[in-house]
Symmetry: C2
Subunit: 300 residues, 2 copies
């Protein structure tokens, strides 16, 4: 079997380690990035450099994109010297960015007209998951395309789930963010609530984490907050961006999400207050501000 030739565009905090894992798994890799410096170590490790997204697309079997938001994906795909210019029948386009489901569907339709099969494949698991190759990958698109590129995806993540047709991966990621944001806000509220009511938040968390409230958030985040650590992890600014995708999609599809709406406002507040670079669990800072008291980290 001939090795699948892979291309990677977007070598940021997530994309860089994901591309590195593809290279490590032995797939020939061609990369392009808006900031070329970020590709240097990959090139030294054997990756090829292309002069544009179009040039990457023209020379590979599968092309991955991993950029920030909907306009960035649209630009790198349909902009000058973008993926569409290098499109060829048989190419598979895999977008790891988290964007609006409706945008992923538009891309699938427009690239589909050029003979390109598209998979929207947003991920969950953070930079740690990206480095360790243990990401959860939520896929929307055709099963046949997924099966062709699955060996490459397997270098990036350990759980790869086909959710449905185009856009379904984005819908799953948006749904994921509804739950994650709710847990982060609830964790923040319950810790400040417990402290203000006169209990030790760490003992409260220890008492409840094994019961109906059990979640990954309570398993991992309170001990970091109690140690005074609010560094990402997953940035609050990205949580705010992803919740905006939820709210825009909810509006487009006529769904009311009152719980998510208030969570989105609290993450918007973090960004407004200059705390967008902190971890999403640092939304506790907004609850602290609203409540006029700080989490006691002396025990942490």
């Amino acid at each position: 079997m001939q090795m699948i030739k892979a291309g990677y565009i977007g070598l940021g905090k997530m994309g860089h380690p994901m591309a590195a894992n593809i290279l490590k798994a032995g797939f020939p890799l061609t990369v392009w990035n808006r900031t070329p410096e970020k590709a240097q170590d990959l090139i030294q490790a054997g990756a090829a450099w292309a002069e544009s997204a179009a040039e990457v697309a023209a020379s590979v079997d599968v092309i991955f994109t991993n950029v920030s938001d909907t306009p960035d994906v649209m630009e790198v795909v349909f902009g000058l010297h973008g993926v569409a210019e290098g499109a060829h029948p048989g190419l598979i386009f895999v977008d790891h960015s988290t964007i609006k489901p409706s945008a992923s569907r538009e891309i699938a339709r427009r690239l589909g007209d050029l003979g390109v099969a598209c998979l929207d494949a947003p991920v969950s698991g953070g930079d740690i998951g990206a480095i360790n190759g243990t990401l959860t990958i939520m896929v929307g698109g055709e099963e046949s395309a997924l099966e062709q590129v699955r060996p490459v995806l397997a270098a990036e993540g350990k759980t790869i789930t086909l959710v449905g047709g185009p856009g379904s991966g984005q819908i799953a990621k948006a749904a994921n963010q509804i739950m994650v944001a709710a847990q982060m806000v609830a964790e923040a509220e319950l810790m400040i609530f417990a402290q203000a009511a006169g209990a030790d938040p760490s003992r409260v968390v220890a008492a409840i984490r094994g019961g109906a409230a059990q979640c990954w958030t309570l398993d991992v985040k309170p001990q970091r907050l109690l140690a005074g650590n609010r560094q990402p992890g997953f940035k609050a600014s990205l949580q705010a961006k992803d919740l905006n995708i939820v709210l825009e999609t909810a509006r487009e599809t006529h769904v009311a999400v009152p719980g998510t709406a208030i969570a989105a406002q609290l993450f918007n507040a973090m960004v407004a207050l200059g705390a967008g670079e902190l971890d999403n669990s640092a939304v506790i800072g907004v609850i602290e501000m609203l409540s006029g008291q700080s989490l006691d980290t002396a025990q942490g």
Copy 2:
């Protein structure tokens, strides 16, 4: 070692199986209930009947109460022929009801003046946990009192955590309800969101439940909702009652809990709409109503 003599007041959906487990574990048990019929099978199994809460208190080493809300506990403790009338030095009072932390502290102070050690010990785990003796028990009070009654508590639950002084068990339970309510609302929103956006909610849940969104709620509830099952479990009316405890305590202690506030309103809506006897996961009915569409249970 002489067997601890136990008394039980409040033989409802939770209290009855908990009392039955104490009896099965071999502790001499005296019971009283507002509705005597509910004690019949316990009496046939060897429990003694007392004519009042005071009479129970007078004849036992440890007395358990398990009633609905703060006024009910106050009545059974300080009302006519209540626990306080039968109080004696050395008695330990264990309240399994979920009430306001400030009320538990008042009880501990007033019964303490009569020589009674008090433990607030609300539980989590539902009627299934009560029947199986696998409840999570969150305890506030003196460690010495807890150690004396721990053998009896061990017949009711498998995780027994001393959170802190009087009221701390209630604080932990309230904190637990902050997280549980947030997860129930988020689960409801993400399932209707996913369906409206064009994805299969069951596949979306399958794609995200192993990642950062992981929680007991997503592990257990979606499959029940997708099968059209909205029976409790844990009643929405009790979720609404417990969130009211959170909001009252937050107001008393000057904490802002905006996420919990909106969740509380959605559970209030369930009660207002006559759906309070359904499971707390049935809050999805409010999201369905607000969104003009129902979860498709044809696949369930």
